[in-house]
């Protein structure tokens, strides 16, 4: 039993719904009690879908439990097949139905469904979650549709370069894009275009927009592109094992990854690497010019991005990619990295280790919020949950991963992958921050009366929450203490918090509550404290207080503050 306030992932049958709803011609009969139909609104509201999800719920009630719920399941299946005439049927159950053990899949198997392929889904609701359910459903559905076509054991693997002999362009499947995934609609378009530019056709995109007959064509492609490992990982490895289809595993998020993706693709398909993907003497690759991110990042305005502290949390794929883009392509300093995807914990841990961090693997949003506060970032890249936490802490935030809000399904073309995706990422991560010269000017004029604490963004993200955030950090005792703000010049004069906050975090120590009188701040001490960048101010306050307490200092003045700073900077 675990206490959950907000959850990153829904139950596994919601993952199954994502597959069914992403596709055409599939219907899902779900044995579930009244109330579970709430899941429809995820699609009709967040994705603004113009159709109901293709799901028939049995919506049993207590009075049905005394009777024959199995009969209700069969009735629902028969009615759904007659009404919707699907090309493939998924049958499964939600958490409560799992307990009453009607085995809807077995019931469906015993029915005459007029030859419609039926896949029984067993998604353990008490141990698994949404992404696992989506991956399992996609895998089971494809397996069910392809089981008649499996090559006999011992059949040699098809040659991924056979396109050449067959006198056609190479073709690949794009696997994993789904509804309620992050920007999948636009990623598919961007990657399809990118592949086209390199002479590669897209055979099947699945599950998004695919019909069951399309899934049956999967083996006709030369290779699979695993765009979203959370959803397509199991399917890709099964297609590799059973049909000998190679998988392109690099996820093209960011410039470096897009180049690596294209190189891997060319290698897998036995294509010659074009000149613009070869690194030049400076290690650059001409193809990168297809995106503005590299130049924007090198341009002088972006100097101010140097060392910006970012905290990253999301699904495994997007978190890992964000860490790489942030650290290498934008020159940020990653001060926290984590994921709620336990399936990808190993990969995230490895990525964190490379950055000298310990990954946070958790689906407890309070633990994430706490880690965020402790890391004192200047930018948060997270999910909708982190957006709320960051707002409370007064930190700018960009959303990089599911779970989604309706605003993460924008009307405009806004991919994350490929060259255009990198452009979108540059804009959406940099805009919440105060920009270039503006930051410099505010640093210069920060002592003028117009300067308002927390005014860091055109978008006004941080301003109102700053004081409560400080109070909160001050009040709840959960935030470890840190003090110190780099070089005094940087910390006090220029308003450049990056460097200083780094030092602050580096000297973070755990709180040691001590008995005795609480030290009091003198006016001069408070004034000095207010010269410290506000996002580390609460930590400095706590650390100085703990320093004063330990030494029995009753009144904290400016000198105490600097003594504390020196103490913690050792």
């Amino acid at each position: 039993m675990e206490l959950t306030l907000w959850t990153y992932e829904g139950p596994p049958h919601v993952g199954a719904m994502r597959i069914a709803t992403s596709m055409e011609g599939v219907h899902y009969v779900l044995h579930a009690p009244q109330g579970d139909t709430y899941a429809d609104l995820l699609f009709t509201m967040i994705e603004r879908r113009d159709r109901r999800p293709p799901v028939t719920y049995t919506t049993f009630q207590a009075r049905d439990l005394g009777g024959d719920t199995a009969e209700l399941v069969k009735r629902s299946i028969a009615a759904a097949v007659e009404r919707f005439q699907p090309e493939a049927l998924l049958v499964g159950e939600s958490c409560t139905a799992e307990l009453i053990q009607d085995q809807p899949g077995a019931l469906a198997a015993g029915m005459d469904l007029g030859g419609i392929p039926m896949v029984s889904l067993e998604l353990p609701a008490y141990s698994k979650k949404e992404n696992w359910g989506a991956a399992e459903t996609l895998y089971q559905l494809v397996r069910g549709l392809l089981k008649q076509r499996m090559p006999a054991p011992g059949t040699p693997k098809p040659d991924p370069a056979r396109w050449r002999a067959e006198g056609r362009r190479p073709r690949v499947n794009l696997l994993g894009p789904s509804l309620l995934g992050f920007r999948c609609r636009d990623d598919v378009r961007e990657i399809t275009r990118l592949l086209g530019e390199h002479g590669v056709d897209v055979s099947v995109v699945a599950p998004l927009g695919a019909r069951p007959a399309d899934l049956q064509r999967l083996p006709e492609a030369d290779a699979n592109v695993c765009l979203y490992p959370e959803v397509a990982g199991s399917l890709c490895s099964w297609l590799e094992r059973s049909f000998g289809m190679p998988t392109v595993k690099t996820v093209p998020l960011g410039i470096g990854a897009t180049v690596a993706f294209l190189r891997e693709l060319h290698g897998v398909l036995g294509m010659e690497l074009p000149a613009d993907l070869q690194p030049d003497p400076e290690g650059l690759c001409p193809a990168e010019r297809a995106s503005r991110l590299p130049w924007y990042s090198r341009s002088v305005d972006s100097t101010y991005l140097t060392g910006k502290r970012v905290f990253i949390f999301g699904d495994g794929t997007h978190a890992i990619a964000a860490a790489r883009i942030a650290s290498r392509e934008l020159g940020f300093e990653v001060v926290g990295l984590g994921t709620y995807s336990r399936e990808l914990a190993r990969e995230v841990r490895a990525a964190a280790k490379e950055l000298g961090l310990e990954a946070l693997i958790s689906d407890d949003y309070l633990a994430v919020e706490k880690a965020m506060a402790e890391a004192a970032p200047e930018l948060v890249l997270g999910t909708q949950m982190e957006r709320h936490s960051a707002k409370r802490l007064g930190i700018p935030c960009a959303v990089i991963s599911t779970p989604l809000h309706v605003q993460d399904v924008p009307a405009r073309y806004a991919p994350q992958m490929g060259w255009e995706g990198a452009n979108v990422i540059f804009d959406s991560w940099v805009h919440p921050l105060m920009m270039g010269l503006e930051e410099h000017l505010i640093g210069m004029f920060r002592h003028d009366f117009e300067f308002v604490d927390g005014h860091r963004s055109h978008l006004g993200d941080g301003a109102p929450a700053v004081a409560p955030a400080a109070d909160r950090a001050h009040g709840d005792g959960a935030v470890p203490l840190a003090v110190g703000h780099g070089t005094p010049a940087a910390g006090h004069g220029q308003g450049d918090g990056g460097q200083s906050a780094a030092v602050a975090a580096a000297v973070a120590v755990a709180e040691a509550p001590a008995a005795g009188a609480e030290p009091r701040w003198s006016t001069a001490g408070e004034a000095e404290l207010h010269k410290i960048p506000f996002f580390v101010r609460s930590k400095v306050r706590r650390n100085t207080e703990s320093f004063a307490r330990e030494r029995g200092i009753a009144v904290i003045d400016a000198e105490t503050l600097y003594d504390a700073k020196a103490h913690f900077s050792r």
């Binding site: 675990e2 109901r52 049995t58 919506t59």
Partner: protein, 430 residues
């Protein structure tokens, strides 16, 4: 009003005196929330209470999705998610629950009342939350009251969760036979204040509310208590109060000018107010309310309305929209029909109104498509799909979150429905 606390069962087939209304009963796929959803407004009403659902990840996901946005730092509700170990009996679910509650109370010392809320899975595995509440009450004696009720979808729909929560509070209400008016059902604080002030002017000696604003500040109940239901979904609570000696004031529900006036007048009369006093206090409100309503009535009059079953507010809303806004009722769906608690509103529906109790959502949507109504009131799962078919909708969940009770709110209430039509008229892409 004669109300039998014993035989009345909201779920029993609707029989009763011959009615001029056409009642259809349907069973099939129901597109309504379960009672857990009520937590979304109950926890706001009682900020010193915590609602702990004992259930699955689905329960947690439902409340989060129904609430729409995750705006709270740490919400005053949560889900104790059952894991495989709890089900396999490897971990004693009760011990686990005790541990979790102890941790929760330590973290949230401001909590005075803890509701253990049963869910579909906890009901199916027969986890005895009543016993758990008793045990936890002993463990945390004097610190917090632990109560339990079921918000499971197999037993409750959407708004019935509030009925169950209020019933759970019942044993804690002290006995007192003094005369008082008890308003039952969650109201927006501002609306409640307004009603209390008006009842004072109408000469009602003491006005209390259930649920109260503080979970520990519970009203008393006894022979002098006259119950005025502010919400139409509190069948069980009403019967439990009658069982405690209270009497029920029969009135239509306080939606719209007419309903609100009749509702307040019935209570005032029960406390001996003269017709002159009632008229003196309420007629100016009626006049002002009608003025506020008029522009919306212009847009709504003659338009055809279809209400899908959702919150149990459908019948009083249909009454308001037909009688005060001039809308034509195509079909009024309700999750269940409690004829006794709906009597006054049913009597005001136009003869021949088609009522549908229960739901088969596919058949109902076929009827919607066939009738092509001008406006459909429905849940969020259906709204965009219907809009995409060219049918205007008003999403019903807003009705349980918005201040819509009272004469002064009648204009706002009508506006919620008129807005859908106004917006359609305002948009042009030619």
């Amino acid at each position: 009003m004669v109300l039998s606390p014993v035989s009345a069962d909201a779920h029993s087939p609707s029989s009763g005196p011959a009615s001029p209304l056409e009642v259809v009963r349907e069973s099939g796929q129901r597109e309504v929330f379960c009672g857990l959803t009520s937590i979304v407004w109950l926890h706001r009403r009682m900020p010193d209470a915590f609602f702990l659902v004992v259930g699955s990840r689905t329960c947690a996901h439902l409340i989060q999705s129904a609430a729409g946005v995750m705006i709270f730092a740490e919400p005053r509700f949560g889900t104790a998610i059952l894991g495989e170990r709890d089900l396999a009996g490897l971990a004693d679910a009760n011990e686990e629950l005790d541990r979790l509650v102890a941790e929760l109370l330590e973290r949230r010392p401001e909590i005075r009342t803890l509701f253990l809320v049963g869910s579909c899975p906890s009901e199916v595995i027969k986890l005895d939350l009543a016993k758990a509440a008793e045990r936890l009450n002993r463990q945390h004696l004097g610190r917090v009251s632990v109560l339990n009720y079921s918000g499971s979808g197999i037993e409750t729909t959407f708004t019935q969760g509030e009925d169950e929560a209020l019933k759970a509070l019942m044993p804690l209400l002290p006995n007192d036979d003094a005369d008082q008016l008890l308003i039952v059902g969650t109201l927006a604080d501002a609306v409640e204040d307004r009603f209390v002030a008006l009842f004072e002017r109408l000469g009602v000696p003491r006005v209390r509310s259930l649920p109260p604003r503080r979970s520990s500040d519970l009203p008393a109940v006894g022979k002098g208590t006259r119950v005025l239901l502010a919400q139409p979904f509190l069948s069980g609570t009403a019967r439990a109060l009658v069982h405690r000696g209270a009497s029920l004031i029969e009135a239509p529900y306080p939606f719209g000018v007419e309903g609100s006036r009749a509702w307040m007048a019935a209570a005032a009369t029960a406390f001996g107010a003269s017709a002159e006093t009632v008229a003196a206090v309420l007629d100016p409100l009626v006049e002002r309310g009608r003025r506020a309503l008029a522009p919306h009535r212009e847009r709504l009059a003659g338009k055809r309305l279809f209400l899908m079953p959702d919150s149990q507010m459908e019948i009083p809303l249909a009454r308001f929209l037909s009688r005060e806004c001039g809308m034509e009722l195509v079909e009024v769906g309700v999750p269940y029909l409690d004829r006794q608690l709906m009597a006054a509103d049913l009597a005001l529906l136009p003869p021949g109104t088609r009522l549908c109790e229960g739901q088969d959502v596919e058949l109902q949507l076929e009827r919607v498509r066939a009738a092509r109504p001008d406006l459909v009131v429905c849940g969020l799962g259906l709204a965009n799909p219907l809009e995409a078919e060219g049918i205007a909708t008003k999403w019903s969940i807003e009705l349980v979150f918005s201040p819509i009770h009272g004469c002064d709110q009648a204009g706002d209430l009508a506006e919620l429905f008129a807005r859908s039509l106004r917006r359609r008229a305002a948009l042009s892409f030619a």
